[in-house]
């Protein structure tokens, strides 16, 4: 099979599993997980330094070969998202930004419209914008027009491990979007990640399910293999479901 690379903006990725740095019991588990999974891009958040305690720098745990995708978590509107994005860029980790504007604190659902407004501003400023949104085709088209580099629809609320609850709306995005569709949030099991790839998703972002597993490195590898498996099956063209059975052995009686 010839090479199958994912292109986003001017970047290319061999591994279609993106990961996150949230909720690891120890930062030391992050490089192990990255090593085991082969993930080429990982998210980070930005916060005030705690001047009281000597906190280690998370960047020390992420190999230079792995791209950083800072998010705008904590933003409650487009203005805050834009401000965080600019600060993140100033931190010298490149132009990538995952826009995350959350107003609902129980289900942590993104505000699609504020996300669109932030995308318009930041794309104009040269950011490579990854908007995290509710799966919504009309909005996704507006995001494309606003210059988003990809669309990141949620499969289920963050951290719920409930998988592709929004499956049918994501299928519509995959069918109609010109930019890559990356399923983000809610994916709790490798089988769900594989299913997303079989549907034709371009990539999957998994944080909680990996970082909060008993063995994050093993789980990271499991997700990575599942994502490759799903992608491979998508490319190898699976057969449709059939209502009635189709024999795999000769249908004749033994001695007929």
């Amino acid at each position: 099979m010839q090479e199958d690379l994912l292109k986003i903006g001017d970047m290319t990725f061999e591994n279609r599993l993106f990961t996150g740095t949230g909720k690891f019991s120890s930062k030391a588990l992050i490089p192990e997980m990255l090593e085991a999974s082969g993930s080429e891009m990982i998210t980070v958040a930005l916060r005030r330094v705690d001047l009281g305690s000597k906190t280690e720098n998370i960047l020390d745990y992420i190999p230079k070969s792995v791209r950083l995708l800072p998010n705008t978590s904590g933003a409650r509107n487009e203005k805050e998202a834009v401000r965080i994005a600019r600060i993140a860029r100033e931190a010298g980790c490149g132009d990538l930004i995952k826009i995350e504007v959350i107003t609902d604190m129980k289900y942590l659902l993104p505000d699609n419209y504020a996300t669109l407004l932030a995308t318009e501003i930041l794309a104009k400023e040269g950011f490579v914008v990854f908007p995290y949104v509710m799966p919504d085709l009309p909005l996704a088209r507006q995001l494309e027009n606003a210059g988003a580099a990809a669309v990141m629809p949620l499969g289920a609320p963050i951290g719920t491990n409930r998988g592709l609850e929004t499956r049918s709306m994501i299928e519509i995005l995959i069918e109609n979007c010109k930019v890559p569709v990356i399923v983000d949030a809610g994916i709790g099991r490798p089988s769900q990640a594989a299913a997303a790839m079989e549907m034709g998703a371009d990539a999957v972002l998994v944080n909680t399910a990996i970082s909060s597993a008993e063995d994050p490195a093993a789980m990271g590898k499991a997700f990575s293999m599942a994502v490759s498996a799903g992608r491979m099956a998508f490319l190898a063209k699976m057969r449709e479901e059939s209502k009635t059975a189709v024999a795999s052995s000769p249908l004749t009686g033994f001695l007929d």
Binding site: L46, L51, I58, D60, C93, A185
Partner: protein, 65 residues
Amino acid sequence: MKITVNGNPETIDVCSITDYLVEKGLTGEGVVVEHNYKIVKRAEWQGVQLREGDNLEILSFVGGG
């Protein structure tokens, strides 16, 4: 003199942003500084002297999804 750092009042001697960060051990990669609500590029830290009443925001990356 008194300044505000990350929302908290602090009393320091006159110094540059760099001096302040060095003292706090915050010169590592990924540290960003807003001085009076404007981002100050790393290259310019040395040149900025802190004054009475200044506001500093010192930020860095943490784990997030």
